[in-house]
Subunit: 336 residues, 4 copies
């Protein structure tokens, strides 16, 4: 039984980690930390976890006794915690942005922090780094937008059939986290849609850095907030560089993702929708249409809290500890 600690367990990603791990046959949450809710049963914050007797504890990182710790802490906080855990021989999956970039300058430019504790980490997108994740002590869990966007772009970039890509993403509000703001205030965001950080979102350079290893494409990214609890729809508009037909593109995707446990390439005529993956660790990819302007459209849907965060983190844990990949996250989505 893997002993698991979760630092920052009162947020949405913390709640999701516990949801998965409570049913995981080979892992057990031994510690769920929260400064604010120290001593409270977790179900006071996560009302759906009412069957669990777990309580929040206010522990310092150095006090944790665990085989693996998930750091579900904000950007800039993880870097202060992770090195001590690693020193204590605890393997770590970090859900913040602190260890996602290879290029430290890029991190510092977009996050506005100086990085105090650079460490070698593996970018935890199993579809591209499966083998490295297995041996890693520190895995940087990908951002929610990058997960959906990279999976939608990867085969077209790798096959070099496009050179210029626009990723237009639509995210549910849980992506903004558990803390209320004007933006997430129901009357302000319900029945509305708005773009934000249109050319300046931190996930843009993350997508670009990861994809650039596979091909020379330029990738431009714009996110939107939509009145949805969970889910990200990433619509990828790629301009083709050679004369390909939709059937060929579909074939590339089918082959690329064959055998992947959580990526589903849709049939011709199907479209990805958020409700198809709600609550599950799946990524649906479809469309594969090309218009008269040489624009190829591919769209992907994920649940931002699962494949875009905690589900993927458990997937990484399974890989790191040699467990079956789907253990604990073999969940069917909730449609309708």
């Amino acid at each position: 039984m893997i002993k698991v600690g979760i630092i920052g367990a009162s947020g949405y990603t913390g709640g999701e980690l516990i949801r998965f791990l409570l049913k995981h046959p080979d892992a057990e949450v031994v510690t769920a930390t929260s400064r604010k809710y120290d001593g409270e049963p977790i179900y006071k914050v996560h009302p759906h976890l009412r069957d669990s007797e777990l309580k929040f504890e206010n522990l310092e990182p150095g006090e944790l006794d665990a085989d693996l710790v998930f750091t579900a802490t904000p950007h800039g906080v993880s870097m202060k915690i992770v090195p001590e855990l690693i020193d204590n021989n605890i393997r770590v999956i970090d859900l913040s942005g602190d260890y996602r970039f290879d290029n430290l300058e890029l991190y510092e430019k977009w996050y506005g922090f100086r990085h105090s504790n650079p460490l070698e980490a593996v970018y935890g997108l199993p579809e591209i780094n499966r083998d490295q994740i297995k041996g890693a002590d520190l895995v940087a869990n990908p951002g929610c937008y990058p997960t959906g966007a990279i999976l939608a772009c990867l085969p077209m970039v790798k096959e070099k059939i496009v050179d210029n890509i626009v990723v237009d993403s639509k995210s549910g509000v849980s992506g903004a986290g558990v803390n209320p703001t004007e933006t997430t205030h129901y009357p302000n965001c319900s029945d509305s849609v708005s773009p934000y950080a249109v050319t300046t979102h931190r996930h843009g350079p993350e997508i670009q850095e990861k994809l650039s290893k596979f091909g020379p494409s330029k990738v431009s990214f714009t996110p939107h907030l939509v009145p949805v609890i969970r889910g990200i729809m990433s619509t990828v508009h790629g301009f083709i560089t050679e004369d390909v037909i939709p059937e060929y593109v579909q074939e590339i995707y089918n082959e690329f993702y064959e055998g992947e446990p959580f990526v589903k390439v849709l049939d011709k005529g199907e479209v990805p929708r958020l409700s198809s993956v709600r609550g599950s660790n799946n990524c649906h990819i479809g469309c594969f249409e090309i218009d008269e302007n040489g624009r190829l459209v591919v769209a992907s849907s994920i649940d931002n809290l699962v494949k875009g965060a905690s589900g993927q983190a458990v997937h990484n844990m399974n890989l790191m500890f040699g467990l079956p990949e789907k253990e604990g996250i073999d969940l069917i989505g909730l449609h309708p």
Copy 2:
């Protein structure tokens, strides 16, 4: 391995039955019928079930080879199918209203049908009929509103602390089924609330008949449609007949539901909400407040498609076949 057939598998309750049974260790869906989608993979209708290779079949009831059949068929249709299944020694859980009433006249009055095939059936609410369900060949799965309402009312009725009850329920739109109507048209029901069938809903007499076995209360029922996909909030306003205090009422509920696998009595200060039970088979019951007019308020929340339909049906299956009660439906809700 129990061989299961589902008649009428293309609706929401059919989809939910499959969702649970695909992960059930002791049951297997051998047949999922649909006239309209004959030959299609089920994921064309239920996009979240993409991993299943099951296909819809257009079979007559007499053609089914199964240990158990769920009839997820409309009111009035089940009565034409169920007797033949029973004759063929197939046990049946009927999700329609056809076998819910003890009093046939009541059924015929409220459903407007003559009942062509009355059979003895057990009302499948495990919390009141656990033992009878175990031996039953035909279980009538309760209505969605009655499930939440009866569970919220039962202890106060049984203890005879109230004699006059108003049940004001708020249901999500999936309760109206899979077929689009003006009422379920997004622009008509989103961002709105409306009462319907305010004194004439069929679930009113069902609630009354079942509760009247436990005490002499009058129960008045009014449902509302709220812009929610899943879930029923039933707010019970009961007028007390003796001078009780909230703590005593809470105690009654705690005792009554102690050990029940799916009913959770909330602590003082907690309120039931739909998101706490979304996607799960749980019923949350709370509030237990009494005002100056001698009105006791108790509220319950369920997922209408799970505890209010298919989850409860699988619970009944587990009971009928001597399996652990939570098998296949030990799901954690999806919050947020």
Copy 3:
């Protein structure tokens, strides 16, 4: 031209007051105060008011030069502002709860404040106090729940056909105001429903006090939060004391509200819905059904920010200044 000041103009009720007054032929907003947004154009906070050149000002009450001031300030704050305005010969419509109660003890019990500045005020529900409002210097604008609930109950109470009433109300989230909280955080309240303050909401005694002048009924009140931006559905369950028929009840309501500019009694077969009154100052009242338990059901719908707050406040202004009642608020709702 009536010179109007609005104190606390950055909230939702402030925004609505401006929406109506910008098009009002006989009134003009000369001052809209906000401490936080001093100097900002109002459209930075109210993006729908982009055509207006009005700016927020940080003024003390004593600095206002106006014929009328709307105090859209929190409970407990109004009582510190209103007396000075009245002393300066400015008429006031207060949108807080500070002047709504006749019985000061009741106010202090439910609001938990000592009232520092009791003044004589007219309860600004035009349908019951039209004449007194005309001559008033201080009008207490009714609470949102009381507006819908009282209008739905009034004829049945006045005609003494019921003696025991349950008001089960469902409110949109804008009723919680403009400040984000956990309760109003989109992922927490979307796709969910929850009761709150089930026997302890301040609007309960307000409803009871106002109705008790018309008849001896007991009124019990429970509010719920529903995933809607605007609107309150109040479902009234009244137990009848004599043998009346629905047609008679409908007739009572038709007569009672005949000629009222903003109350619409629906026909048999119609139901009130929130979308029918969204954005308008109308109150729709309907249902008028009686069940076998002698329970009469009447339901009303209003927009909580309009008839339940700012629209009604402008209606009161029109009455106070001898203007046509519908001026500035003769708005058609937004359906769908």
Copy 4:
């Protein structure tokens, strides 16, 4: 007083036309036709129009006595009605797609009909065709997507600062019309997002045809369905051909739309959102950011039923009859 007829008045665009015209000082709806609801008061279908005594009539086009007729009829139906109206000296504003294309072949290719009655029509986007609309007998009211997309693209195209444009649009469900379908069924589209007709939507060639008169850009269009009642957000990603800065682009837009009554160019730092224009005839345009890949982002928001349909139609009426442009449609949006 202009006598107005509406053919097809039971749909959403019909309801909106009546909403505006009931308050229009110089126009009067004399006839509102509906085959299905013949003889019914319009408020049975449009519950927000309860104050109107108008009734639906089942009239043939030849029976209408009017100065102007709005044909709110489906594509393919308008072409059978409009010529007779024109012959009878009735001016017409057609809300279908039948008269929008200059290039008839393009129409027939994308709509799949042979056009039976080509007539000369003016494309009713006042911002580009104000003068021609004034003298027109037949105005083709633009599609909802084209209205928002063209207004967002026009200045950048006219100034030739881009040559390749992706328009990624997100539409509310009312755009699908009043008839329920699986797509618009609340449980299917709530809390979800999906792309549709990703390279094949009819509004794509409409946008391209109109913009190509102003510059040589390629325009690629993909629409999405979002869980919103009203509104279209069009995010325009344009690749720049010369080295421009955001301030310059903003300046171009400010100048281009100066004096336009319904187009609002937002300030730096503001973003368009659907709630800012809900229920109004305004189009908000903002963003004006350029990323490292030379991608310029501009986004526009409209209410699809108002600026995207009926409000724009009334604007066209005002132009055709020499009335002040804002008459009847000078409505403030509904936020929140």
